[in-house]
Symmetry: C3
Subunit: 264 residues, 3 copies
Amino acid sequence: MKLPHCQELITKVSKGVLYITLNRPHKKNAMNLALVNELISVVDCVKDKRSIRVIVIRGAENNFCSGGDISGMNFDGASETHDPMWLFNRTFGKMITLVNSAPQVVVTVLEGVVLGGGIGLACISDVAIADINTKFAMPETRLGIVPAQIAPFVVSRIGLMQTRRLTLLGESIYGEEAKALGFVHYVTQNQDELETQLKNVIVKIMLCAPEANALTKKLILQVGLVEHEQLLDEAASYFCNSLKNEGKEGTAAFLEKRSASWIN
Amino acid sequence: MKLPHCQELITKVSKGVLYITLNRPHKKNAMNLALVNELISVVDCVKDKRSIRVIVIRGAENNFCSGGDISGMNFDGASETHDPMWLFNRTFGKMITLVNSAPQVVVTVLEGVVLGGGIGLACISDVAIADINTKFAMPETRLGIVPAQIAPFVVSRIGLMQTRRLTLLGESIYGEEAKALGFVHYVTQNQDELETQLKNVIVKIMLCAPEANALTKKLILQVGLVEHEQLLDEAASYFCNSLKNEGKEGTAAFLEKRSASWIN
Amino acid sequence: MKLPHCQELITKVSKGVLYITLNRPHKKNAMNLALVNELISVVDCVKDKRSIRVIVIRGAENNFCSGGDISGMNFDGASETHDPMWLFNRTFGKMITLVNSAPQVVVTVLEGVVLGGGIGLACISDVAIADINTKFAMPETRLGIVPAQIAPFVVSRIGLMQTRRLTLLGESIYGEEAKALGFVHYVTQNQDELETQLKNVIVKIMLCAPEANALTKKLILQVGLVEHEQLLDEAASYFCNSLKNEGKEGTAAFLEKRSASWIN
């Protein structure tokens, strides 16, 4: 598979999984505009490729991401649309929105620090795995800055209640609390466990039919945005579509006690 | 009280409680279209009967419900409205939507397996009690099918974050985790505790005034659907309505240190 | 600073913090209309004063608030707008809505009882600290009354799922469960710990820039109310505004390893 050439990311495809590594370890993988644009290109490039069933996002050298790279910021820009700083900031939100709706199952592997924009990415992953010592924080307001493209995704992930506290106090939390608050699904005790958990998650995803998963993800992302009865009407069409394609194979495999065709 | 005649359900009314048992134990109470339509009829039949204050839903022979009965599925149907499979699927959502807004307090007793459509029902109960060993899962995507009429109710119940994981991995969880994730309110250690918890819940519901409960439930179901100020305006009217009827009796009983008239 | 004169509240300003004490201890600080109107006046009075960065709300004599004062209720009022009881009730919702959107960080200190309207206030605080023995309940329906101006804020705080149970059963919960359900952020073991936690929270808030905090709070309160892309557009403007004012100072202070100007 031909992926866009990247400077700030390392990409690899193996057995239906696209692995993306944020690769600016000298800055704990702080995201500059180039990195953000590369993420957009790569995820967009595979959006119609159902042979890619999982996207794993992690950071180089055992840190996930320390946020936006403030060394690239120009503090005297205007606050209007098309101002370079406005666009710089807005592009983060564009990227997170795009990854949020990727038809693949998106898995984030959260080690070291997960700060600011790093939290934004974690918040839209379908499965998030964190080490017990991973640090999560939105320190923006301590720097006098609004976590503008991040906070809305945090509210969607963990609710307004804890977002108030974390954004307005700039407090740090760690693995177990991140799980309790609803940032992450799994917390592991060390690097070995982390890699094992990642493998197990991928195995489970591969048990699920790719088109059924893509339709299911599309459906659940619409809850609250599309009127209830209308959404259930659409959902019934998704059901029928899945039933006559993958569903026919899946239920046949189940009754015949064999693996379905999409399982390696 | 005259209830609709049922083939797939057992119904009983006792002391203000309507007990409904899903009764297809040979299929772990998988729901076919007949069962779904019977549930609709029974719940609809009591919707204006305020003498019924609680609806308890459980499954025969210590299983709640194993989902939709796939043996009734026709895999070659079209995905258009009025297609029989479309209607079959859509009727589940219709039933869950109806039970969700029943003016009575709906209690689910969750034993054995709670799969697919069973989770949908659990997700709209006002009080859910599960055994510690009860298994919850949405295995649909492993069969190549979209959990179409279920997933939206799961998002409303436990949020998008855990719904992503459970639908896209098909993972099973058990009693304690189901409580931590927000599926159920109470987890009990064995059958005796389960029945005791159910009795205690019913006792507490009976302390609350039936009309006040019905109005309160109507109110909280509208949050997010009706504009905030408008909802609070309506709520103030609910308040005044309750105050001059049950509220007069309830506060008098409180001041006179006696039981209110609605307490047996 | 000149604050409105109050009969039912004690107010004090010290080092950027406005302390408000509900002061009707003979009624466990039950709120009458006068108290509610005073709260509105005081919070409204400081809304453009960025020198006030924190509002701490607590109750006199180790109780937070026992709800609305039912001794002031007239049970025979009509349920129409402009009826005195309608207005009495609606004013609670007006007050809670106002405090919810205060640009300052609102901290509630929850001791003793937090009932009915007291829960409403707790539910809109940015940071809530409770003692382990603090009792939370919405007993309204046991009195035959709808928790009309409260329940919608409870749904927004802890979700529909637990709101169903708490409103329809009238059940009480205590500190640890209140934290697990998402009412409060911190639970302390005794009075000393409570005061220490309050001090620590204030210290952390003071590390954050006041305007960045106000903009961040404004932003997160709009999630779900403003369309996603439009909200991110606005957010990018907030970002640019913060960057060229407090952000310039904050990042300079960070790079120079000194305290920012807003830290005492």
